[in-house]
């Protein structure tokens, strides 16, 4: 290096040492988190608890979009009005594509929700994230008949059209489910059109596919349903997208160690 550059380097090093010494001198005064931290801390946690209670009591609606991980979704009963569906691929972050059914429901009511996601965490091993809302979900479904009792043994009541009556149920609007498989018992489904061209299904149901989702091609298989009611709904989904808002009564979020399945939904909802 030239002597000029050496001189500049030496000057830079001197200035850095000077700043470090000044910082060390400032560090001698005792500074830290003062007791006044308790004010925003207590206020913040009180507000968080209050909002959590509001979500649990079906008053505050939250925005809940999910990510590229597949998770299991269970509900005692899904009552949907104005639904549309078509087949598509889901691009995941790892690059592999999966075939999925895109289902959009204009307004939905759910008797209980149990969403289960498995994660590998560094020290603890496998943990399960469970999001539970509404009435307790049954530990297993009999898809040969409609679900009449929820996970805690309380009866679920319906009117003559298969619509849920009573109870503290989850309501959602503009709900989009992107899933690999859905199982259940179709209960009094009305106004179904199978084989409608996939690019027209959203207009029939009065929904708009969320931005960023691949639009269906004309001539592909699509279905529209006026009233869709599914008892004992279980599915592997990649995501739920709520364009509207969702109310989640009796909300519980738990991270439990181990591998949990639907059989644990009623016990986790109770405890």
């Amino acid at each position: 290096m030239t002597s000029r550059r050496l001189g500049l380097l030496a000057r830079a090093q001197r200035e850095a040492a000077h700043r470090a010494a000044a910082m060390a001198a400032r560090a001698e005064t005792r500074r830290g988190t003062r007791r006044r931290a308790l004010v925003p801390l207590a206020g913040g946690f009180a507000a968080l608890v209050a909002m959590f209670q509001l979500v649990s009591s079906n008053v505050l609606a939250v925005n809940f979009t999910t990510s590229n991980q597949e998770f299991q979704l269970y509900s005692n009963y899904l009552q949907g009005a104005q639904a549309a569906g078509f087949l598509s691929t889901n691009d995941t972050a790892s690059g592999t594509d999966n075939g999925v059914a895109e289902l959009g429901i204009r307004s939905a009511k759910l008797a209980g929700l149990c969403a289960i996601a498995h994660e590998q965490v560094p020290v603890v091993g496998e943990v399960t994230l469970m999001i539970i809302a509404g009435v307790p979900v049954r530990s297993s479904f009999n898809t040969g008949s409609n679900t009449t009792v929820d996970g805690a043994g309380n009866p679920l009541t319906y009117d003559a059209n298969g619509l849920l009556t009573g109870g503290n149920h989850i309501t959602a609007s503009n709900l989009f489910i992107n899933s690999r498989s859905l199982n259940g018992f179709g209960n009094l489904i009305s106004g179904m059109n199978l084989g409608q061209s996939a690019d027209t299904v959203d207009a029939t149901a009065g929904i708009t596919w969320p931005a960023g989702q691949t639009k269906p091609d004309a001539g592909d298989f699509g279905l529209t349903v006026d009233r869709i009611n599914v008892g004992g709904l279980g599915g592997d989904t990649y995501g739920i997208n709520l364009q509207g808002a969702i109310t989640l009564p009796n909300l519980k979020i738990k991270v439990v160690p181990g591998h949990k399945t639907q059989a644990d939904c009623p016990t986790q909802a109770a405890g």
């Binding site: 470090a20 910082m23 060390a24 400032r26 560090a27 005064t29 005792r30 500074r31 830290g32 988190t33 003062r34 007791r35 006044r36 931290a37 308790l38 004010v39 925003p40 801390l41 206020g43 913040g44 946690f45 507000a47 968080l48 909002m51 959590f52 979500v55 505050l60 939250v62 925005n63 809940f64 979009t65 999910t66 990510s67 590229n68 972050a93 994230l129 969320p210 931005a211 960023g212 997208n241 709520l242 364009q243 979020i253 991270v255």
Partner: protein, 139 residues
């Protein structure tokens, strides 16, 4: 090498003591966790509306507040309160605040950043105001 590591450690100690280091660390962790739980692709985040970009906006704000707490701590009075508000907003808008962990860390970090400042010097060992203490108090 002993002298160098000693100097580096002394520099780090001075760095920690002259800014809200731990508060900023919790804010960074909260922001990173919220972004991780709402990690959508660029196309989705840009065209998808608030549902898909909320994680980046609120989590990114918390990360920024953490960095400012470390490198420009004279703004901490305002930004501490903003970190608490962003964490509460993330509960509503970003997958329940990164499944609650992001919101909790954000409130903790924001409070620590806001409350950081000069404290009264510690009293000398055993020098409590009460008279007649026989046992030495640990400082």
């Amino acid at each position: 090498m002993g002298a160098r590591t000693k100097a580096a450690w002394a520099w780090f100690r001075a760095f920690r003591r002259t800014r809200p280091f731990w508060g900023g660390l919790w804010c960074l962790a909260a922001g990173a966790w919220i972004i991780r739980s709402m990690f959508f692709s660029f196309v989705l985040a840009v065209s998808g509306g608030w549902s898909y970009s909320a994680g980046y906006i609120l989590g990114g704000g918390l990360v920024l507040i953490g960095l400012v707490a470390w490198f420009a701590p004279h703004y901490r009075a305002l930004l501490g309160i903003m970190a608490v508000l962003l964490a509460l907003a993330a509960f509503v808008a970003a997958n329940l605040g990164g499944y609650l962990l992001g919101s909790v860390l954000g409130i903790l970090g924001g409070s620590m950043v806001w409350a950081w400042g000069e404290k009264a010097p510690r009293r000398a060992r055993g020098g409590r105001r009460r008279a007649g203490t026989t046992a030495p108090t640990a400082s």
